[in-house]
Amino acid sequence: MAFPTTNLQRTATTSAVTAAFVFGPFLTAIAQAVPLTGAGATFPEPLYQRYASEIKKVYPDLQINYQGIGSGGGIKQLTAGTVDFGASDTAMTNEEAAKVSRGVIYVPTAGGAVAVVYNLPGVNNLKLSRKTLPAIFSGQITRWNDSRIVADNPGVRLPAQPIRLATRADSSGTTFIFTNHLSAIDPYFKGRIGANKAPRWTRNSLKAKGNPGVAQIVKRTPGAVGYVESSFSKTNRLQTAQVQAKNGSYVAPTVQAANQALQAVQFDSDNRVDFTKLGDPANGYPITGLTWIMVYKQYADPAKADSVKRMVQWILTRGQALNSSLEYTQIPQSTANRVVQAVQSGVGVSTAATGSGR
């Protein structure tokens, strides 16, 4: 055709121009340096996003891209090699770690309390004892005006509403922390449900994805009770129950109380912890857990290995200061130093490491 008069040609030209327009900025973005992709637990997601934005102020080339998809997802993606680091509220088991050919280093980043949140208009400061709480979640107590709850809360008028359990639809570290505690204090719960990231609840429950989803359900469903990481209870202004600690006192999920509980924690040499010991701490807020990121020992790309080192180093030093502002506990100084050492020496470059390397 001698000259472009047909619509067809005009359209082709327009499409080309549009494509150029769309991809232009995109190609420039590719030119940027070493991004780290991570995915996993939703529990620390707000914290990690904050880390990502702060760390860029120090290392402009270090771009961290974190997606909260659940702890199970974090481990899965790490195993599959689709991410540069995974995150989980339970460090991987030895069995799980064995599947990762590139090796895993565990980096505890923060701790936090799991709050028991409920929706009962007019009933504030609900108290739940060590007998009552597991009974509610194992389905033995189904009404709010059950005598056992009434006994925990003398003088409080409890409605005759049914109790609506709100739990996680996805596999979750928060769930593990919560069920780990309930299993530790109640043999019936341990026998029927047990400590698990995705347990089989014996009673029907409303399920939603992620901490935000559960918070949302509790907020919108009268009579609901659920568990979320404590920062979600604060920001959503949810009613939060006080739970009974080992020493018999009722404790609210504050950072101080959680720090108190974590003081007793003994880290293993590879920076994991024995969860059975964490299930029922002697002091502080009893439903407390830790969260980890897991990095590979080997990266194909030297720049990536370097980025990982810098990231871990920053998180465990200056990053820790951010934790309390977002309602997370800090990792004890000695442990933090040891972890930084382990990563500095343990993370290396290997051409054999394939997968997410670019």
Partner: protein, 354 residues
């Protein structure tokens, strides 16, 4: 062929073509041209087959991924009710049940409303300038992304429906259908949301079916003394019945596969309860919730098995819809505008003509 062919004007044509040496060549074929023409034809065929390949490939990939679960559970998966991730026991029944029940609620709600919209926007109840915008407005629902409908469902629909659900429970709890106390989220709200989402599909296609009934038939019916509604019930709806049925099937296909909006309002609890006020779970919802973090091969396999079941159900529904429409076309029914309307599965009906 070169421009020399045009060197003389029309007027200069010689009377005897042979003498004037006119080009009367009608046999020479440029080899290259022939190759191009053949190539074009085969190229088109190749592209067309790609769509078949996609469907087969899709079935194969999902089947492959589902294999561990198929080997482990076999067909028992279909009626087993257990879904225990840590115990690695999986059963599909609660999900199949939830999917079917919510879709059924959706259809029960959307069919009368959809047909009413189709009638109001196709018959002469309203002046023309009001009729087509009406149809357009309803179709706009289909253009709203389902995640936004879900958002609206959480914030607006569930609080709005809650008093209604409470009322149903209070006064009708002797009926198993309303036998449990409403949570807020649940199968009824999910069904309502789905009904809203499939409404445009049913309304738009039914409207086309009704518009395809020739105007003279209406006049003929009216001239025999039938009222407008008698004409509608005795002539239009029977004439368009299979087309409307096709529309309903397409709507059903869409309801079965809808994911986000349902996930956000159904409560995601895998159980089988006769009560519509109770919680439920659907296949697309469990895929959306669990797929990204399924770790064990068996868990992935079970989810893929669910996907395969959903795939099979929707394929079946769509095949029935297509066949219904085709059957109607053969019987000389009112079919003209139905096939052009494409069911788009999960999001919106695509219509070529306003």
């Amino acid at each position: 062929m070169q421009s020399s062919e045009h060197d003389s004007s029309i007027g200069a044509r010689a009377p005897d073509p042979q003498k004037a040496g006119l080009i009367l060549d009608i046999t020479t074929t440029d080899r290259w041209d022939l190759v191009l023409e053949q190539g074009f034809s085969w190229l088109l065929r190749g592209f067309a087959l790609s769509i078949v390949v996609v469907l087969v490939w899709m079935s194969w990939v999902i089947f492959q991924q589902a294999r561990p679960a198929i080997q482990q559970f076999g067909l028992k998966f279909l009626w087993s009710q257990d879904w225990d991730v840590p115990g690695l026991t999986f059963g599909a029944l609660p999900y199949i049940y939830g999917t079917l029940v919510t879709s059924a609620i959706a259809l029960i709600l959307a069919i009368p409303v959809g047909i009413a919209v189709a009638l109001v926007s196709s018959e002469n109840f309203l002046p023309l300038w009001l009729r087509s915008p009406l149809g357009f407005l309803v179709e706009l629902i289909a253009a709203i992304p389902s995640v936004i409908v879900g958002l609206w469902g959480i914030f607006v629909l569930i609080p709005f429906l809650q008093p209604l659900q409470q009322g149903l429970y209070r006064y009708l709890n002797w009926l198993p259908l309303f036998g449990t106390e409403p949570y807020g989220p649940g199968m009824l709200p999910a069904g309502v949301i789905l009904g809203i989402m499939v409404l445009p599909t049913i309304a738009a296609i039914s409207r086309d079916v009704l518009l395809a009934v020739p105007g003279e038939l209406r006049s003929a019916s009216m001239s025999l003394g039938a009222t407008r509604w008698e004409t509608i019930f005795k002539l239009l709806l029977p004439a368009g019945a299979s087309g409307i049925l096709g529309a309903v099937m397409l709507g059903l296909g869409r309801a079965l596969g809808e994911t986000m909006a349902v996930t956000m309002v159904i409560g995601n609890s895998p159980q089988i309860s006769a009560s519509l006020l109770d919680l439920g779970y659907t296949i697309p919802a469990v895929l959306a919730n669990e797929f990204a973090e399924a770790l064990d091969n068996l868990h992935i396999g079970a989810l893929m098995y669910l996907a395969l079941i959903l795939f099979a159900i929707t394929l079946l529904v769509n095949i029935i819809a297509v066949l219904l429409v085709r059957l109607m076309g053969q019987q000389g029914g009112i079919s003209t505008r139905v096939e052009p309307t494409i069911n788009t599965g999960a999001d919106q009906p695509q219509r070529l003509l306003p």
